[in-house]
């Protein structure tokens, strides 16, 4: 029986707490303790980005993040992107451009693109392509994903739908 550690943090705008195994990943805790299944376990090695979450404003592979280190942090998962005004601009752009096939990589892609656009809403194609270097899609290639990211950036800059 592995040691459990009591942690408290802010999850999608809510104060939460949990006792988590000391060797658990943030991904396991988000999925199993908080029923947030948006972030996915695929490679478990930080190679694919399907588990991407945003911690204190920085995107992270939640599969490689010690759950105990969530303590005191502000965590955003794909479930937290949904706001009063409906879908986040990145989510809406994925819907509009059809940037989803099997969907397994989508939550990670959306979070990573949101992170890139938060840091630079004017990010162009080259910058966005580099931003998702750590996100693997095995279905479609990346053309529609980048199309969606560019559309989302335009929307976030107030340019309306392209």
């Amino acid at each position: 029986m592995s040691l459990e550690v009591e942690i408290a943090f802010t999850l999608n705008g809510r104060a939460v707490s949990a006792a988590v195994p000391a060797t658990a990943s943030a991904l396991t805790v988000l999925r199993e303790r908080f029923d947030l299944a948006g972030a996915k376990l695929v490679c478990g090695e930080g190679e694919c980005g399907a588990c991407t979450i945003i911690v204190d404003g920085l995107s992270r592979n939640s599969c490689l993040m010690p759950a105990v280190d969530l303590a005191g942090r502000t965590v955003r998962t794909v479930e937290g992107l949904w706001g009063e005004r409906g879908l986040d601009p990145v989510q809406q752009a994925f819907v509009d451009t059809g940037a989803v096939q099997c969907g397994y990589c989508t939550a990670g892609m959306v979070m990573q693109i949101r992170h890139a656009l938060d840091r630079n809403p004017a990010a162009g194609e080259a910058e966005l392509r580099r931003a998702i270097e750590g996100n693997v899609c095995r279905c479609t290639g990346y053309a529609k994903v980048i199309e969606a990211a560019l559309a989302a950036g335009q929307r976030m800059r107030g340019g309306g739908a392209p």
Binding site: L3, A22, G46, S59, N61, L64, M65, P66, G134, N135
Partner: protein, 296 residues
């Protein structure tokens, strides 16, 4: 080196969330602690039994004294907790030692750069550790601290002397990397980092090479060359450096340098590439960099 302990998955029976250097080194003092910061190496390795882990997990991520990138008295100090993203974006490093941000730019992915620390890249002691190469070229020292006789005992060690083998360092039991530091490079210095993998991102280097120095026409002075994934540890190549130092670079001089490099590296065959291919890559990288100077 014989294995002192059986290698087992990480098992934890105590957790310390250290908030000061004092608390961190005390928690590690008996050698039974496993420090964690970014987790990008440890959380992959923990289930594989790659190391002899201590059963007390010590989270050093919030130790403010271990962070920051700053210059004092002509010496640049990068705290052990500085992430690859912080190195990539540091205005000081972009100005004073741009080879470090250039290397960070080739390091893994955004998500991993946001987590991985320079202290972790050094402590993990991979023969293919990217960030170690430019630091070796900057003659960096690694700063260490441990709790000893009721006080914090600090020492500095040349980074080049810190590695003992794959995954092995010369840190004492309970000793923590606190920073890496180096003299600010003279104005007009240059540095270049080259790395091979099938794609730009998320590659563990098949071969990486870093060269630094000062350019004076077709000559290089204060030449530093470091290579990764070509020996049991990241290495400097002093004989190749000497071969190049101050010499007007032409085809013959470059050929001599490549021959010397071939004698200084000792790559192996593994899943990422053959020894033959690694030799080819290392030579190609050096040839490209020296050719750039020769043609200038």
């Amino acid at each position: 080196m014989p294995l002192a302990q059986e290698l087992k998955p990480l098992e934890i029976d105590a957790y310390v969330d250290a908030v000061s250097l004092d608390a961190a080194v005390r928690a590690l003092a008996d050698g039974a602690g496993t420090p964690v910061a970014g987790g990008t190496d440890l959380w992959i390795q923990k289930d594989l039994g790659k190391r002899a882990y201590g059963r007390r997990l010590v989270n050093i991520r919030r130790v403010a004294a271990l962070g920051g990138i700053a210059e004092e008295g002509g010496r640049i100090r990068i705290g052990a907790l500085a992430t690859m993203t912080e190195i990539l974006e540091s205005p000081l490093l972009l100005r004073a030692a741009p080879v470090l941000p250039a290397t960070a730019d080739r390091f893994a992915s955004v998500q991993i750069r946001n987590a991985a620390t320079v202290g972790g890249n050094i402590a993990n002691a991979s023969p293919a550790a990217d960030m170690v190469l430019p630091l070796l070229c900057l003659d960096a020292e690694v700063e260490l601290a441990r709790w000893h006789e009721n006080r914090i005992d600090r020492r500095r060690l040349p980074l080049a002397a810190f590695f003992a083998g794959p995954g092995k360092t010369r840190a004492l039991p309970g000793e923590l990397i606190t920073a890496v530091s180096f003299d600010r490079p003279a104005a007009g210095s240059f540095g270049a980092f080259q790395k091979s993998g099938p794609r730009p991102a998320l590659e563990i280097a098949r071969v990486a090479l870093c060269i630094a120095g000062r350019r004076e026409g077709r000559r290089l002075t204060s030449v530093r060359i470091a290579a990764g994934a070509v020996a049991p540890t990241p290495i400097r190549c002093p004989r190749t450096e000497a071969e190049i130092e101050g010499v007007a670079l032409d085809d013959a001089a470059i050929a001599r340098a490549l021959e010397s490099l071939g004698r200084e590296i000792a790559p192996i065959d593994d899943v990422r590439g053959s020894a033959w291919y690694r030799r080819h890559l290392a030579a190609a990288f050096l040839e490209e960099e020296l050719g750039r100077v020769a043609r200038s």
